[in-house]
Amino acid sequence: QDRTSVKIGYAISKTGPNSGGAGITTLPNYVLWAKEVNDAGGLEMPDGKKLPIEVVEYDDRSSAEEVVRAIERLATQDKVDFILPPWGTGFNLAVAPLFDRFGYPQLAVSAVTDKAPEFVKRWKKSYWLLGGGHDYTSALAGLLTKAAGEGTINKKIAMISVADGFGIDLVTAARPSFKDAGFEVVYDVTYPAGTTDFTPMINEAAGSGADTFVAFSYPPETFAITQQAQVAKFNPKILYLGVGTGFPVYGEKNGANAEGIMSLGGIDPKNEANAAYRKRHQEVTGQAPDLWGSVITYNSLQMLQEAIKRRGLDRDAVADELSNGTFQTVLGEVKLEDNQLRKLWFGGQWQSGQFVAVAPVDREGAAPAILPKPAWK
């Protein structure tokens, strides 16, 4: 048939509590990718023809009911060719049955879950690209084991986590990871999302005698903990914080004080493709990408683009290609294992103004971690 464009649709939290996360990791990459593809003449088809992308965008207003309906709308009203996933673990799960029912591949990025293998079984066309909690915590445990072996830190950990899906997933993975690595978790509490004052927890952690402080936190809390730790002169040898640490603004804001702080994600600064991507991102969207999920999101779009190029607009074929093909993306060479991305950076650290990948320690390109974390300036 004579098509003149490819319709790509997505529903994203532009407003409401999720908009902060979606606005940094997901939406800018969708915008960037669509612009780049269209500037280059459009999506390339197997026959070499290029078709521009026509974007259909909805705001899910951070509501589960809205995101479900928006996907239904994209599939049955707008009849888009592909649907990009929403932001957040819960929302990706909420829409997974719909992607499945309507036959759309779902390249879920901003969803950290250990249940990915089960989900892949249930929804054959779902892809999980950000790993599971266990990946991150065992990478961290590996790093800690190394440090303890070198005598840098003791074997005690103080740990706090936010009481929502993300925090729980990570903390439940962390407990066995740390235990297996021979660490003792001496302080282990959960706080409600929206907590602004961490003084009591910091005081307890400081008094616990642990050299390592881990917080599976969200951005506002990550920022708050960093500030309040400085005020309280709480300077653990290892400071590992959650989402938000990998935001460029975190580095800018904390300057020299960011040095040595660790978190999920990270990038290999020597990866040129990534560096070029970061530059384009800054230019087009006016903001720098975060240093964890952003590049993976962009990578997922490149995979989709490439799969379309190879197999056309047939969604089943594209799904098959995504499952089995090998792709060259900003991450380098990517091949999914059981619909999951396994080659990821699970731990990063701020080192002289850059959030570099430090874990898994044995992966090529990993920078050596700076331990212990330097004292607050």
Partner: protein, 326 residues
């Protein structure tokens, strides 16, 4: 005669609506689910709050409990039983809450109910994280969207019927008296506590059921998703906008507002908020007595339909003070 005609018309409308899944696509059904859900929520809200003037923000507490009950029990009990359990839990909580709020009036009641919803959310979260160690729960129930829709439609019809029945019963008059002046109400023999409690419970059970019925649509449920306070606010706004104390008022507020939200977020994803806000303000200025009031003005005026205004500043109970008459 009028009543019979009204019933016939309503029956026809609901019959037509029941066939909707056969000629609508998935999105259409989704839309109908959302709309029916909010019509039911707003009507159930109006049943208590619209009639007594006690503005409740606890809607999402019951809605969320309904959804959570399904999430917790979906692998252990048959679906109809889960709904019963959800209803029972809603009733139980409603009675406890109803009892504790009897002394509160006006804005104190409003914020109390808001605090209550948040408390329940926090407790559920805490329980799940520290006691069961799981926060998110999965719902893999073989309940399709059209089944959800039909269930909601039945619930909606039931809610409207109850509202109609209450409106013409002694209970309805009692509520209007309470809304006007509780001191007088008690002095003419109305048991305020029982009346309020009864209505609050009915309304809460309906709301709980809406949450329970809708839950299978989300697959994954966590407190942040099902206890989203927006639900309370939207319900309240829809009911107030339509005219909370009238039979069709909440529906007349919910349907256009729901469609408006949908249309705005689809066509103006970037300026959704601004346009929505401006529209709200315009509506307040143009339709001072709600959509239902406006509709009534268009047709005819009949005494006795004046809406009970929320008692945010209820006259002090038991004191003899009243402001200048007129």
């Amino acid at each position: 005669m009028r009543t019979a005609l009204g019933f016939a018309a309503a029956a026809i409308v609901f019959a037509v609506l029941a066939f909707a899944p056969f000629y609508l696509d998935a999105y259409g059904i989704g839309l109908m689910i959302g709309m029916t859900g909010y019509v039911t929520l707003a009507s159930a809200w109006g049943l208590f709050s619209g009639r007594t003037g006690y503005v409740s923000l606890a809607t999402v507490a019951f809605f969320g409990m309904g959804a959570y009950t399904v999430a917790v029990l979906n692998e252990t009990l048959p679906y109809p039983v889960i709904l019963l359990v959800a209803g029972a839990i809603g009733l139980l909580v409603a009675v406890v809450v109803g009892f504790s709020t009897l002394r509160l009036a006006g804005v104190y009641f409003v914020i109390f109910t808001f605090g209550l919803a948040e408390l329940i959310r926090q407790l559920v979260t805490w329980f799940e994280t520290t006691v069961t160690g799981t926060l998110g729960r999965y719902i893999f129930l073989p309940v399709g969207p059209e089944h959800i829709y039909w269930q909601l439609l039945v619930l909606c019809a039931a809610t409207l019927f109850i509202t109609w029945w209450v409106g013409r019963s002694r209970l309805g008059l009692a509520l209007r008296v309470i809304a006007d002046d509780e001191v007088v109400a008690s002095h003419i023999g109305i048991d305020i506590a029982r009346t309020k409690l009864a209505l609050f419970s009915v309304s809460a059970v309906i709301i709980t059921l809406v949450g329970a019925i809708q839950a299978p649509r989300w697959t994954y449920v966590e407190p942040a998703i099902v206890f989203n306070p927006t639900v309370s606010f939207l319900t309240l706004i829809m009911a107030l906008l339509g005219g909370a104390s009238r039979l069709w008022g909440p529906a007349l507020g919910a349907i256009p507002l729901f469609l408006l939200f949908e249309w705005l977020s689809a066509n103006f994803p970037d300026h959704y908020s601004i346009l929505l806000g401006l529209l709200f303000i315009v509506i307040v200025f143009v339709l001072p007595r709600g959509v239902a009031g406006f509709a009534k003005d268009l047709t005819r005026r009949r005494p006795g339909g004046t809406p009970a205004a929320p008692k945010l500043d209820a006259a002090p109970l038991g004191t003899e003070s009243r402001e200048a008459r007129s």
